[in-house]
C-alpha cells in the first residue's frame, strides 16, 4: 500500500512529549522523520524510568512509542560546525519542527529567517508554551499550562480539588494541533512552492480543547466555569451511576419511552413509579430526587448484571472500565488502536498504542520503535547530505557529532 506522506522529510528537533508526538503522526503516515538530538543523552525523555512511581518495565515506552518510525542523528547544535550540518539537512527537508524555547533556537542560529533563507520552501513549525505573540516568559509544562486554561477547575464534584485531564493530555492535544498546522502549510507549499512559519502552542491548543465550555463562558454563561455535581445534572437519564462493582454511564434522552425502558430494565421498582418522574419536564424539575432514586436501584446490581438488564431493555449504557479492561478490548485490537511490534531494546514483541486515524487506502503503519541515539548519523551524512568520510572524521574531532 502507498504511504500518504511519502517524500515528506521532517527535521524533528523536539524533546519530551508534544513535539515528538506531533512528528509521530507524520512518521506513521510515511514521512521521513529525522530526529535531531544532542550527543550527550539526547532527548531527555530517553531518561524516563518510572511513571507514577511504577517502574516502566524493561523498555522505555514513554520515549520509544512516540518516536517510532523515526531516524536519529546526533549533532551538537551549540557548535557552528554542528549548525552547518543542520543547514545542509534543511536544504534537503520539507519541515523543521521544534518545541525548544525560541530563545534557544535563536542562540543556535536556527530562526525562521535563517532557515528559510536556506530553503524558502521550508515549513518552520514551533510548539511554544504560550504562543508567538505572548509576552510572558515562564516555563511551560503540560499541567501548569492546562491549569491556566480553566479546564481543570470545572471538573470534579463541587469542593473537590481541580482535575488534571491525564498525564500528557495537554501535550497530546498540542501534538495533534501541531501536526495539523504542518500539514496545512505543506498543502499550501505543494501548490505555491513557498514555505511559512507556523506555531501550535500548548496554551492555544488547550484553550481549543476547552471549546464547548469556554465558548459558553465567553458568551456569559458563568456557571460553565464551575464544578457541577453528578447529583444535579439536568437529565438524570444521561448520568453516571454506581453499582456494587464498577460505575455505569447511562446515555439516554429524557423521554417517556426511554424512562419506561429504564424502569423495565430495573424491574419496575416502586421508587421510580412516582408522579414526580411522570414527564420530561417533571423529571427535569425533580432531577435530584430521580438521580437518588435511580442510584438506589443501580446499587442493588453488580455492573455486569446491570449492563445485561439495561441491554435487554435496549438502554444505551457502558460500564466505566479501567485500563485492565481496555487492554483486553477486542474492539481496540481489531481497529489497530493497539498493536504488537518488535522492540530491539528487549528483543521481543511489545504492545503499543497504535493508529487512531484510519485511512482506507494509505493507512499508517508502525515499522520500528524509537531509534537509538544517533544511530543514523553517519549514514545520513554520507547518503543524504553528501559528506565525505574525511569530513565526517573532522567533524567528529571537533565534537560536532559523536
Amino acid at each position: 500500500m502507498s504511504k500518504a506522506l511519502e517524500g515528506v522529510r521532517v527535521i524533528d528537533l523536539t524533546v519530551w512529549f508534544q513535539g515528538p508526538v506531533s512528528a509521530q503522526y507524520l512518521a506513521d503516515f510515511g514521512a521521513d522523520v529525522i530526529k535531531v538530538e544532542r550527543p550527550q543523552g539526547g532527548d531527555q525523555a530517553r531518561g524516563v524510568r518510572s511513571i507514577k512511581s511504577l517502574e516502566i518495565g524493561d523498555w522505555n515506552q514513554y520515549f520509544l512509542v512516540i518516536n517510532r518510525n523515526k531516524k536519529s542523528i546526533a549533532i551538537d547544535l551549540k557548535k557552528p560546525e554542528g549548525q552547518e550540518i543542520l543547514y545542509r539537512l534543511v536544504e534537503k527537508s520539507d519541515v523543521f519542527l521544534s518545541n525548544l524555547a525560541p530563545e534557544m533556537l535563536a542562540a543556535w542560529n536556527l530562526t525562521y529567517e535563517k532557515l528559510s533563507s536556506i530553503n524558502p520552501k521550508l515549513v518552520y513549525a514551533t510548539n511554544t508554551g504560550y504562543g508567538r505573540f505572548s509576552k510572558v516568559s515562564k516555563p511551560s509544562f503540560d499541567m501548569t499550562v492546562q491549569a491556566l486554561t480553566g479546564i481543570m477547575a470545572r471538573l470534579g464534584e463541587p469542593g473537590q480539588p481541580p482535575i488534571y485531564l491525564g498525564m500528557g493530555s495537554g501535550d497530546a492535544y498540542g501534538g495533534i494541533m501541531s501536526a495539523l498546522g504542518i500539514l496545512l502549510a505543506l498543502y499550501e507549499c505543494r501548490r505555491t512552492g513557498k514555505g511559512q512559519s507556523i506555531d501550535a502552542s500548548l496554551y492555544g491548543a488547550q484553550l481549543y480543547l476547552a471549546a464547548p465550555h469556554l465558548q459558553a463562558y465567553l458568551a456569559g454563561h458563568e456557571s460553565s466555569a464551575l464544578q457541577h455535581s453528578r447529583r444535579q445534572v439536568e437529565n438524570p437519564l444521561w448520568n453516571l451511576y454506581p453499582t456494587s462493582g464498577k460505575w455505569v454511564f447511562l446515555c439516554e434522552r429524557n423521554e417517556d419511552a426511554r424512562f419506561a425502558a429504564l424502569c423495565r430494565a430495573l424491574r419496575n421498582p416502586a421508587a421510580l413509579a412516582d408522579p414526580r418522574f411522570g414527564s420530561t419536564a417533571r423529571r427535569r424539575e425533580n432531577n435530584e430526587a430521580l438521580i437518588a432514586a435511580i442510584e438506589g436501584e443501580t446499587l442493588k446490581y453488580g455492573h455486569a448484571e446491570l449492563m445485561k438488564a439495561l441491554q435487554g431493555a435496549g438502554i444505551t449504557a457502558s460500564p466505566v472500565n479501567n485500563f485492565a479492561d481496555v487492554i483486553r478490548d477486542e474492539q481496540a485490537w481489531q481497529n489497530a488502536y493497539f498493536m504488537k511490534t518488535w522492540c530491539e531494546e528487549v528483543q521481543r514483541e511489545v504492545e503499543i498504542r497504535g493508529l487512531p486515524v484510519t485511512l482506507s487506502k494509505s493507512p499508517g503503519e508502525v515499522h520500528s520503535l524509537g531509534p537509538q541515539l544517533g544511530q543514523d548519523t553517519e549514514i545520513l551524512m554520507m547518503d543524504l547530505l553528501g559528506y565525505e568520510w574525511e569530513q565526517i572524521e573532522a567533524l567528529k574531532a571537533k565534537g560536532a557529532i559523536p
Binding site: 514513554y62 494541533m177 465558548q215 454511564f249 479492561d325 486515524v357
Partner: protein, 394 residues
Amino acid sequence: MGRILHDVTVLDLTRQFCTALSGAFLADFGARVIRVDLLPSAGPEPTGRWNHEADLIHRNKLSVAINASTPRGREVFAALAAKVDVILTDWQRDELAALGVDYAKVSGTRPDVIFARLSGFGPKGPDQDLPVIDELAAARTGAMPILPQPGQPPVYTGAGAMHATGMLAFGILTALLHRMQSGEGQEVDVSLFGANMYSSALDLQAFLAIGHGDRLLNPISRLDVSNPMSGSVYRSADGRWVTLTMPDTDRWWPAFSAMVGLDANDARFDTHEKRTAVNRLALIGELEERFSRRPAGEWRRMFQEKQLSADIIEQFDYPAHDPAAYANRYIMELDHPSFGKVKTLGFPIWASDSPARLESLAPCAGQHTDQVLHELLGYSRETLHELVDAGVLA
C-alpha cells in the same frame, strides 16, 4: 494572504459539536464548507440570546437546505455529494446509505472523494455500529476512574471528543496530500474510542506495557502523589489551588525550597531519592502546610520571579481576560450584527503567511442554497424556484 484550502470543497453532514468544529477548522483555513440542513428542520428556537455555539462550530460555512425525504431532494443531495472533494460526517452508516450519500455510492461517481466519518468505536470489529456518543467511548477507555480523588465518582472530561476534532481534520489533510500525489481518494475513520485512547495518552500506554499496577487502575490521592513537586496540587490560603510540574527535582530544589521556606540542606529532602521516595510523604505534608500560608497570587509572583514551573489553577475568567490569549487570537473580540461586541474562541494554530480568519458567522439554514446549487450544479434560477415551490429546497 492565501487561504490554504481555497480549492477544497467540503460537504458537512454533522450533528455533533466535535465533528462540526472539525468542519469549521477547515473553513477557518479557507475551505468552502457546505453544511446540509435537512428539511423540514426543527432548528433551534430563537432564545433572544447569542447562539455562541453555532457561531463557533458553523462559522465560515455555507448552508444548503434540502428535503431529502423527497426523491428529487435525494437527487439534489446525491448530485451535490458527487461535486465535493471531502464529505465530513458523523451520521450513522445506514442513514447515509438510505440517502444515497454513503461512500460506496459517492465514490462510484466520484472515485477521488475523501469520505471522513466520525464513528463511535472504529470501522471494524463487533462494535462498529454502536452509537456515536463520547460518554460511551470515554467510559470504555479506562481513564475515567483514575482522574478524581479516591472515593469520588469517575470523571468525564469531554477531551476525547475534542481530540476527535483534531484527528478528523488531520486525517482529511493527510488524505488530501495523498490525493494530490496519487489522484486517489479514500475513506477516513476516526472514532471517539480511539480519540479517547490518545487523550489519556501516557497512563494507558504505561499500563499496556507493564500490564499491572494499582496506581494506574485506582485514583491516587493528591497527598500520595509519586513526586511531591510534579503533578501535585496544593490549596493556598485563599482556597485557590496551585500546581507544580518540576519532575527533575534536583534542578529546581534550591530555588523552590527557599521559596516555600524549607532549608535546601534539610537532611530529609537533600536528594531526589529522598524527596520522591524515602521522605515523599513528609515532603507532601510540609508543602501542604506551607502552601496554605499565603494566597495564590503571592505564590504566582514568587513562581514567576524564580522562573519555577508552577502556576495557579485558574477558572475561565483567566483566559477571558488574558492579553496573551488575544494577542495570539486564541480568543477574539468581534462585532456581532445582533449582539454587539462579543468574545469568541479563535484559532489554535498560527500561520505566518496564510492565517486562519473569521469571515462569516454561522449561516441560517438554507442561506446559500441558491448560490451553491447554481455554482456547483449549474441550476438555473427557474429550476431553483421550481424546487423551492415543490418543497424540495429552502
